[in-house]
């Protein structure tokens, strides 16, 4: 927990800041069998970025990056809508969408792991081509549907809590558990820090790389399903647009290094919530919408500056400078 103190403090600061501008921000009510209020809205609206951030954390931990997740969301949303409209049923729609997402992940993973293409270039291909694929699936239209089962994923609620919020919280918890209770986390970190030494130690570097891109694709598919279900239609052009960048930002705000290695999924999820709080807060504060992006950018710059190690050094110097170096360093 101590490691995540900066993220928790940032989230608290953002919430306090919004509360100052919009006093009723933290109030939550129970009406019509649902929890209603800004915090609940943040948990729900933040679902796509939170889901993407989980996969992105693992990819970045291997010193990679996945720019294609936004486009993969569009593909998977389109596939789900196509399956529902075609009358194939909810099971087929979900299965096909998740399968498409994993296929996209495997494609990215193979480009990176087997062909040695730089991750930013490898995933750029699908980022650009992916929306084209999605448009082919929707045949250029916004593919709308009315299927309550699928819509439930985006706008339903369970015990008063929005389903998207439940999905990302569960996904985060399950992934976190799997990664830390098995050796997957250790192996991913090892590959991220030193791929060559990892190969020499007998790690199956290629399979691990494909696996993290596959996971990123899977979570992009879930995010795409949520967005598509929420608006009851697949919009190939706008589903997940620019969300890959928000996801990367969430990972970075979560305290993870783009250079790979040590990672924290919880940190990235906090990062996603910080971003969504800012988004929601700006809307609630009632600024004209044209201010949104600029204010958001300003806040992000402040957050990243507060987290920068150099700034921390400057402020920490007077107190901690004389700390004696541990003995083994001088050997």
């Amino acid at each position: 927990m101590k490691r995540l103190a900066p993220q928790l403090l940032t989230l608290a600061a953002v919430i306090v800041l919004i509360s100052l501008v919009f006093p009723g921000f933290l109030s939550v009510e129970f009406s019509n069998g649902r929890l209603v209020g800004a915090p609940i809205d943040i948990l729900k609206r933040g679902a796509p970025v939170a889901l993407l951030a989980i996969g992105m954390t693992l990819v970045i931990a291997t010193r990679g990056i996945d720019l294609s997740v936004g486009a993969v969301m569009a593909i998977c949303g389109a596939v789900a809508a196509w399956a529902i409209v075609g009358g194939h049923g909810l099971g087929a729609a979900l299965g096909l969408a998740l399968g498409a997402g994993m296929l996209c992940g495997i494609w990215n993973g193979l480009l990176v792991a087997a062909f040695g293409i730089q991750p930013i270039v490898a995933t750029l291909i699908l980022m650009v081509a992916g929306r084209g694929v999605a448009q082919l699936v929707t045949q250029g239209t916004i593919l709308t549907f009315s299927h309550e089962g699928l819509a439930f994923l985006g706008s339903g609620s369970l015990l008063g809590v929005p389903v998207p919020a439940l999905i990302w919280i569960a996904a985060g918890a399950v992934t976190g558990l799997i990664v830390r209770q098995t050796a997957l986390g250790l192996l991913i970190e090892a590959v991220g820090v030193n791929p060559r030494a990892s190969t020499l130690a007998g790690l199956n570097t290629r399979v691990l790389l494909v696996a993290v891109y596959l996971i990123a694709g899977l979570f992009a598919a879930i995010a795409g399903l949520i967005v598509t279900a929420d608006i009851r239609g697949a919009d190939a052009n706008n589903t997940g647009l620019w969300l890959e960048l928000d996801a990367i930002l969430a990972v970075v705000i979560g305290g993870n290094s783009l250079l790979g290695g040590r990672f924290s999924i919880l940190g990235s999820l906090l990062g996603a919530m910080i971003i969504q709080s800012i988004n929601t807060g700006i809307l609630l504060a009632g600024y004209p919408s044209e201010f949104n992006l600029v204010i958001k950018a300003g806040l992000v710059v402040v957050i990243l500056m507060l987290q920068s190690p150099r700034l921390a050094q400057v402020f920490a110097l007077p107190r901690r400078a004389p700390l004696a170096r541990p003995k083994e360093a001088g050997e």
């Binding site: 030494a197 083994e328 050997e331």
Partner: protein, 501 residues
Amino acid sequence: MDASPILSARGLNKGFPGTKALTDIDFDLRPGEVHALLGENGAGKSTLVKCLTGAMRRDSGTILLHGQPISPASTLEAQALGIGTVYQEVNLLANLTVAENLTLGRQPRRFGLVDRRAMKAEAEAMLAGYGLAINVNRDLGSYSVAVQQIVAIARAVALSGKVLILDEPTASLDAREVELLFGVVERLRAKGLGIIFISHFLDQVFRISDRLTVLRNGRLIATTEAAEVDRHRLIAMMLGRDLAAQEAAHAPAQLNDAPGMLSFRGCGRRGAVEPFDLEVRQGEVIGMAGLLGSGRTESAELLFGLSPRDTGEARDGDRPLSLASPREAIAAGFGFAPEDRKTDGIIADLSVRENIVLALQARRGWAKPIPRAEQTRLATDYIRQLDIRTPGPEKPVGLLSGGNQQKVILARWLAMNPRFLILDEPTRGIDVGAHAEILRLIRRLVAEGMSLLVISSELEELVAVSDRMIVLRDRRHVAELAGGGLTADRIVDAIAAGDAA
């Protein structure tokens, strides 16, 4: 020729955490001489050069230029004093023109703008006398490495003009280009420059040098006229074989007659190492000796499946053995502690515990994690057994000293209980104490029945631990020595034989 030295060092010392890089080095460079600096990797050549050029701060000692003490704090300052350096990788800008590179930082100006005509004239003047007919307005990158080297030399000479240091300038040149470069060096020598020449190619050293200085383990072994030393003695000095006591410790009578465990027939890889045969018996240490670049590391990487062989076969007893990747080699019971610990061995950001369990965990697969308590037990076990100096198992391994990092990698492999362990330069760059411990460990492992392949540039130490010795030269296994024939002298003979031809 016996002029007073242009550049000299007295009692130079330089230490790094965990190791002493230079110990009491005296060095003299006379005007009008080419002085070769020789030694294996880690001998201290580049550290010496870096201290002379201010790229590194010396711990103690004096540097005199024309008898005046100097203390350059940067290569730029050394350059202003008259000491220029040209490295193996040309550190000029390939995307600028030759003229721009030559005049960079002091371009002639006219009305505040760069005067291209004056620049061209100046560049041509700088290159005059180097026998290069090139268009100085073309990009430097469009010329061969040899031409780039000469441009770099011209720039260094123009900026400094007294001392020129050439650090492995010929490493990527072909024979004709080397001659072109040597022509330039000879001309500069005739002009009275003092030239320090670092190279691994002994033929070239003998071809161009007037005097040579040999370093080993950061100590000065000898400075001598090039004409007064032969190839055999030079190699002996570089590899060191003067510890008679250590040799005596080796009992050559113990010939291991255990049946072969692993056998490699005609294994080779084009461009890396010629096909070779190797028989590995249980409980023996096979030494691998040869100069840098002779194919030692390449042989090890081939055996470990890191760079798969393209000819030959490997057998385990009477079963064929596939070694297409390190994973397969590890599954067959192999282990490999690589030469370059920092880039190939440790995972710096991970803890000592995680580094030790890594290979074991990789073999078990991600789904079967080693319980945390078991990991900690393994780590603390090996920390005690190998005397790894760390405050605890959770310390990031990158913060430990070189010797302790090496022990962590050894622990990683010992935890796997391999039957065939390859150690590439296991004692390089580590302090004397850790050195002796690693040699003791090698003996203990063999006594327990493990087979080892040890690659080392430290000849006397290699002779002391090995039962058999493979000698490499020019990417070829040229000799195998065992029993009474296994002496440092014979090894040096085998290495020198081909060079002389």
